[in-house]
Symmetry: C2
Subunit: 379 residues, 2 copies
C-alpha cells in the first residue's frame, strides 16, 4: 500500500489538467430513484435534482466532473421523457450527443448504443461510463483515476473503477482485485479476479479484512470496439442490434424494443472478468450512489445549529428541537420537528414523507403502495 500512496502523491504534485485525447464520457441518465420519493419521481428522477445543496443537479455535477477530462465529448443516454429536461440542464451538450431511449432496456443497451455510435465516429475511441446520479467528493482525485483507467483501457482491458471501502456496506457489489498490471501511466491498474454480489454484513466485514475488495461503483472505462466485441462474444444478437442502430439511426424505434434487457455487469463485465480481461483502478475519492435518504443524509453537512440534523434546502424554513436526522424543505413551507431521532422529513409541493433513516430503504414499498392505491400520479 505504501507504494500506491507514494505514487499518488507524485501524481497529485504533477497533475494533468488537459482533456484526454480520444476519450468520450458516456452518461446513462436513467433510473427513477424510487427510494428518494417524493423528491425523486418517475417524471423527475433523482439525476435531475440537486441533492447536495450545491445548486447543481447530480447530472450537472456529473457533467462538471467529466468536462475537464473530455471537453464536449460527452454523450448522454436518457429516456425520451427526460430528453427536454436533460437538454435544459446541459446547454453545452451537443444535440448529436443526446440519445433518447424509446423505452428502458437496462444499462447494457444504453451504454452499448453509445459505444456503437462512437465506434463509428472514432474506431479507437475510449469510452467511460459514469452514472448521472452518483455523488463524488474529490473531482481531481477522480480525474487522476480516470486518466489511469483510460491508459489501461487502451491496452484492451475493460477497466472498472473500484472504490476503497470505508465501511462494510451491504448495499453495493464488490470487486476482488488481483495483481498489479504494470501498465505505463497506470501505476494503480490491477487485474480483477471477480465481481461479487451485494454481501451480508458479516461477509462484507470479511471482505474488508482481506484488503482485496473494492466497491463496485458501476463505472467502466473501455475502448468502444472492445466493449462491443466482447458483447458480440457473450450476447451476439444484442451487439449486432446496437451496431445496426448506430449504422442506421432511423431504425432505432424499430430495433430497440427487440434488444435484450441486461445490465452491463452481467452482460460483459462478469464473463470478461472470468477470462482475465477486466482491470481495476482504485478510486480513493469519496463516492455514494445516494440510494436512499439515509445515504443522502450522510452526504449533507451539518448546516444548522441543531447537532445531528442535516438540511437539504433553505435552512431558514426548518425549525428543529431535540431532533436528529434529515429534513428537506421543498415547498416553501416552514417544517417544524420536535423530539425525534433519526427522522426523515421530505416536503414537496404535492406530497410529504415522514419516516426514519432506519426505514429509508423501505420507501420503495411505500411508493408501490401509492401505485397500488391509485396514486401513481404522485410517483
Amino acid at each position: 500500500m505504501a507504494e500506491v500512496a507514494d505514487t499518488r502523491t507524485q501524481i497529485a504534485g504533477d497533475r494533468d489538467s488537459s482533456a484526454i485525447d480520444g476519450f468520450w464520457a458516456v452518461i446513462p441518465a436513467g433510473g427513477a430513484g424510487t427510494r428518494l420519493w417524493p423528491l425523486s419521481r418517475s417524471s423527475s428522477p433523482k439525476f435531475l435534482h440537486d441533492l447536495s445543496g450545491a445548486g447543481r443537479s447530480l447530472l450537472q455535477t456529473t457533467w462538471d466532473r467529466l468536462e475537464p477530462l473530455c471537453g464536449d465529448q460527452v454523450m448522454v443516454v436518457t429516456g425520451v421523457a427526460h430528453e427536454a429536461a436533460v437538454r435544459a440542464q446541459l446547454p453545452g451538450l451537443a444535440l448529436a450527443n443526446l440519445v433518447a431511449e424509446p423505452s428502458p432496456r437496462d444499462s447494457m443497451a444504453a451504454v452499448g448504443l453509445a459505444a456503437a455510435m462512437l465506434e463509428r465516429r472514432d474506431p479507437d475511441a475510449v469510452i467511460g461510463s459514469f452514472a448521472a446520479d452518483h455523488v463524488i467528493g474529490e473531482p481531481e482525485v477522480f480525474a487522476d483515476c480516470v486518466r489511469e483507467a483510460v491508459a489501461v483501457a487502451r491496452t484492451g482491458y475493460v477497466v472498472t473503477i473500484g472504490i476503497e471501502p470505508t465501511c462494510p456496506a451491504t448495499g453495493f457489489g464488490y470487486i476482488r482485485v488481483g495483481d498489479s498490471l504494470a501498465i505505463a501511466g497506470a501505476p494503480n491498474g490491477r487485474a480483477v479476479r471477480s465481481f461479487v454480489e451485494k454481501p451480508d454484513e458479516t461477509t462484507a466485514r470479511a471482505y474488508l479484512d482481506t484488503g482485496e475488495y473494492r466497491w463496485n461503483a458501476g463505472m467502466f472505462v473501455v475502448k468502444a470496439s472492445v466493449l462491443l466485441d466482447l458483447l458480440a462474444e457473450f450476447h451476439p444478437e444484442l451487439a449486432a442490434g446496437l451496431r445496426d442502430i448506430a449504422a442506421e439511426p432511423a431504425r432505432l424505434a424499430e430495433l430497440w424494443p427487440g434488444l435484450t434487457k441486461v445490465a452491463i455487469d452481467h452482460a460483459v463485465a462478469e464473463p470478461a472478468a472470468a477470462q482475465g480481461r477486466v482491470a481495476v483502478v482504485e478510486g480513493r475519492f469519496t463516492w455514494d450512489d445516494v440510494g436512499d435518504f439515509a445515504s443522502l443524509g450522510s452526504l449533507l453537512s451539518n448546516a444548522v445549529a441543531v447537532p445531528g440534523l442535516r438540511v437539504l434546502g433553505d435552512v431558514d424554513l426548518v425549525l428543529a428541537k431535540d431532533t436528529t436526522g434529515v429534513v428537506i424543505p421543498g415547498s416553501g413551507r416552514t417544517v417544524a420537528v420536535l423530539g425525534l431521532d433519526d427522522i426523515v422529513v421530505v416536503d414537496t409541493p404535492d406530497a410529504l414523507l415522514v419516516t426514519t433513516r432506519e426505514r429509508a430503504q423501505d420507501v420503495k414499498a411505500l411508493v408501490d403502495l401509492l401505485k397500488a392505491t391509485g396514486r401513481a400520479d404522485l410517483t
Copy 2:
C-alpha cells in the same frame, strides 16, 4: 353511588327537551390553543376549527350543544380579532349578544362582563359559562347535567360541573366533592369542599382512589347577580368596573384596560368554595379540553385501515405503513408516513409539524422558538 345511578336512569327515561327559563349560556371564546400549532394560530385559534372531523368547529358544536337549553339566549365573548369569524360561524347569534374584548383580560373579566350585561336585562338570569373549545361526547347527558346545575344555582350557589375522572390525568385541576345538597330537581347536586391544582400522577391516583374527586372542566353555572356580588366581595374594583361597562357600554374601551386580569377560578370559585358557597353537579359525559395533539388524537376514531392511526381530515390523503399516531392532512397534499410509532404529523398550507404524542405538550416551546426566531407571523 348506587343511588346516583338510579336517579340518572330515571332522568334519562323522562328527558326534558325544552329550553330552561331565564337561562343564558355564556361562551368565552378565547385562548390561542398554542399546543395545537400549526392547526391553531393566534389569528385562527382552536375554537374556530373542526377538531373532531364532524364538519363543525368547536365553537359551533358548543353552540349546538347549548341551543336546546337556552334557545338564542347565548352570549359569546371573544377578542376583537375574532369577532368577524365568530359572526360568520354563528349566524344565529344576535349582534347584541356578541361581546368583543378590546384585549385579553382573562376569564373573570370575560364572563363577568357578560354577567353584568345580563344582570341588567334580567336580574334573575342564571348564566352558564362553557368554553368554546372543549369536546363533549353525549350532549343529552350534558343537558341533563346543566338542568340540575341551574336548579342548584337558583338557590344561590356557584355551581360547577365536575367530570367523573376516567384516568389519573395530570393536565386538569380537580374538585373535591362533599355531601349531597338535597335540592329539588338536582339529585346529583353536592357541596364542593375545595378546588385543587393540577396534581402529579401519584396524587391524581390517590384522588381517584378516594372517589371524592372530579375533574374541574371550568364550567360554572350561577345567577349573574350572585357571581357579581361574590366578585364584589373578593375583587370589588373589578366587579364595579364590569358593572360600569354594562351600564355604559360606550366606556368599554376606556375602562377595559384597567380591569384586573384574573381567572374566574381564583377570583370567585376558590374563595367562595372556602365559604361553602360552591356546589357541584357531576357530569358523566365524556369531556376533553383538547389541550394538545395527544388529547386530540385520543378523541378521533380509528378512521383508516391502519390500526392505531388516527386521521383528522381527508383519509384519502394519508398513506401510512407500520405507523401509529395522529396525522392531520390540511393542505391537500398526500402525507406518507412509514415506520413511526405515536407520531404526530400536522400539515397546513404554510407550516408543517412533525412530533410525537409524548412531546405534544412541548409544542408550545416550539411556538415560542418560532416567535424568538422572527417567525411570529406563523404563530
